[in-house]
């Protein structure tokens, strides 16, 4: 029995080596508890931020929370390039294993509502402290009367207008900076900033060779700005119960006609633009306006400083039913197969508090928008530049009289997500403006597509 011999000679006790190893392993496992070391492991899969430093903010915050709470927080960053995050979510939902906390893009909490832990308690405490969340976040994150995920700070964006100050002044005669100064007030002419004014400006800038860079394809930037325009006309295509409201809808027809009018003033390839095409249009100096978060301006500041210095973010034009801005949030959700649901909730509550939210927003140069309207006053939006104050109007301010919009709301999310991802609103416009169908023909097609979606439930 050489094992016994070895064990004896090493430890001076009569203990087999295997038993000694097992005993050592057991001691090692219990040691952390004895000495107050981490006992909880939380695995997080966060969205891999466009802004590289954005990941560092979350990593630091998680480490900080872990130290305070004797927990080990493992953080993975999952890219949305190639829809890797969607594939990860689908795979984890199917296998019922993976991370404890995951970042869910806009529509995913609704899709996986039954597999997500109820976070009403966390949201209750957060709203008690910070007030209401923006309504679009509630539409996406609250399903069947319960919060299934927490609206995240990291990755959440809005899509107001990023305007070239010089080109707008020169070709459309609009002093956009005076109209929307970096102050908590509207400037002269702000009340005329509506879709009619916008369409006229689009025509003038197009004639001057600086067409607005508005995508009309099937990616989110396209669907979101058209969705915001539709919302500002009160043009819903489906009601809350999934009833189709296309036929005889005068508001929808008015919105479509306005959108077609604008689309005719855009470059002839916008039908195939992706979410980067509008950024390129702005950065290259060929476009007078895009609807985008500050990432377009940040890239322009880096690659084309002269262009970046002329960019100014302003609210989206208003329509007959008000002013709406495209909103594309992320959510933090906890899988119901997680074994650390309590600590995971605590971590998410920590990441959502004002101080943590400000860290995330600051690190992303103001890109990340907190879901709580009371947090839209972080100094970063006033201080970023050049020009200083360029993103002051990026988050919704009281004087904007604006609301967030999600295309195809208020349709039930299970149906709206299909219409959204199939870009039915931009295809509707394309059928008229590109394929020369009549408005009635195009609306008939839309109704049939919505019927198909509804039929599948």
């Amino acid at each position: 029995m050489p094992e016994n011999v070895n064990a004896t000679s090493c430890n001076d006790v009569s203990l087999p080596r295997r038993a000694a190893l097992l005993g050592g392993a057991a001691t090692a496992l219990t040691a952390p508890a004895v000495f107050g070391q981490p006992t909880t492991n939380i695995r997080c899969g966060f969205w891999d931020h466009w802004v590289p430093a954005g990941n560092d903010a979350l990593r630091r915050l998680c480490a900080q929370w872990g130290e305070r709470n004797r927990a080990t927080v493992g953080v993975d960053f999952i890219t949305s390039v190639g829809n890797q995050n969607l594939l990860t979510i689908a795979a984890q939902a199917q296998s019922r294993s993976g991370h404890d906390i995951l970042s869910f893009p806009a529509w995913e909490p609704a899709s996986h509502a039954r597999m997500l832990v109820n976070v009403d308690d966390v949201m209750g405490r957060l709203t008690a402290k910070y007030g209401a969340v923006t309504p679009a976040a509630e539409y996406l994150g609250k399903q069947d009367g319960r919060w299934v995920a927490i609206p995240a700070v990291s990755g959440t964006q809005m899509k107001p207008a990023c305007v070239r100050i010089d080109l707008m002044q020169q070709h459309a005669g609009i002093d956009i900076r005076a109209m929307w100064p970096a102050e908590n007030r509207a400037g002269p002419g702000a009340d005329t900033w509506n879709w009619e004014t916008f369409a006229v400006a689009a025509e003038k800038c197009n004639r001057a060779g600086f067409a607005f860079g508005l995508p009309m394809g099937s990616f989110t930037d396209a669907v979101d700005w058209v969705g915001a325009l539709f919302a500002s006309y009160g043009a819903n295509v489906m009601d809350e119960r999934g009833g189709i409201t296309v036929r005889g809808n005068a508001k929808l027809r008015a919105a479509v006609e306005m959108c077609v009018r604008i689309a005719r003033q855009l470059p002839n390839d916008v039908w195939a633009w992706d979410d980067a095409s509008n950024n390129r249009a702005l950065i290259s100096g060929r476009s007078a306006l895009v609807f985008n978060p500050p990432s377009a301006w940040v890239s322009a500041r880096r690659d084309q400083p002269a262009v970046g210095a002329q960019c100014w973010t302003v609210p989206v034009p208003s329509g007959p039913e008000g002013r709406f801005v495209g909103y594309l949030p992320y959510f933090w959700g906890i899988w119901n197969f997680s074994r650390v649901q309590g600590p995971a909730k605590e971590l998410l509550e920590f990441l959502s508090d004002r101080a943590s939210a400000e860290v995330q927003t600051n690190t992303s140069a103001g890109y990340d928008i907190p879901p709580f309207l009371s947090m839209n006053d972080f100094p970063v939006w006033s201080n970023e530049g050049p020009p200083v104050g360029t993103v002051f109007n990026y988050p919704i301010k009281a004087h904007h009289n604006a609301r967030t919009s999600v295309a195809f709301a208020p349709a039930p999310p299970a149906m709206a997500v299909q219409a959204y991802n199939q870009a039915l609103n931009t295809k509707l416009i394309a059928r008229i403006a590109q394929a020369n169908e009549t408005v009635d023909q195009a609306l008939g097609w839309l109704e049939r597509e919505l019927n198909t979606i509804r039929r599948g439930g």
């Binding site: 299909q418 295809k427 394309a430 597509e449």
Partner: protein
Amino acid sequence: MPDSMTAAVSAPRGPESGAGGGLRRLARRRSTIAFLMTLPLICVIVGLVAYPAAYAVYLSTLNRRMDGFAGLLQFEILVDNETFWLVVWQSCLFAISAVLAKALIGFWLAHMLHHIPTKGQRKWRGMLLIPWVIPPALSTLGWWWMYDPTYSSLNWILAIFAVPAVPWLGEPWWARISVIMVNVWYGAPFFMIMYLAALKSVPEQLYEAAAIDGATSWQRLRHITLPMMQNIISITVLFSLIVTFANYDIVRVLTNGGPRDLTHVFATYAFQVGILSGNIPRGAAVSLFMLPALAVFAYFILRGVNRRNREMA
């Protein structure tokens, strides 16, 4: 193995020879050994082919929430949907035209290469294979840049000749042609290398005999080359058709199915419906839709190959 079999049968039964002897006999059988040797392959096929396929069939029979059996509902909905028929038509157009173009270009390239002296042939062969060895997602990104209407090299060249900029990916027919062109660029080298191998296997004596009989080059091609290459052409076309029908990355990178769904193929539409729109059963139904058509096509092609093999034997 008859001796050992006899020995095993005729050996006297000891106290342990019941189950143990049976196992030994089973292990000595040729079929058992063959089965054991193919077991790894069977495991791979079951795990990576049969199971995913069966799971896809199962998924396609569920309702959208995946909590109830819906029979053929997903297929019924697809059949009633005009966008889906657009996808069917587009997939056929994409696959058939791309495979035809690849076969013709590959055939022509193979002939050109075959007639280059052996010394220089390797160099050309290597160069012509480059499109096929670059990962398609990467090379498609290069094409995407070239097709960009505002900043691309293609339109820059056209501008030199005062030709107006072409919206390569924004106008439906240009977009269709563009995705087909990239697929042909990527896949033609595969046909070329297969046809070149087939050409090299045609006995030179047949051409010599034909030359003595006064056959023209067209007659040599028609009566010698093509019949001798028929099997490889059939199998290559079949293989390429299946791969092209299932293509995803080219359309996804270049157009994402746009404009107005006019470049969607089965795979991109299935991804859009299944993963992006959260309707996995319908996405599975879309991806399964091409299976019967391809299976029938494969059956006839392979039957032709077998028949010709029997005739040649």
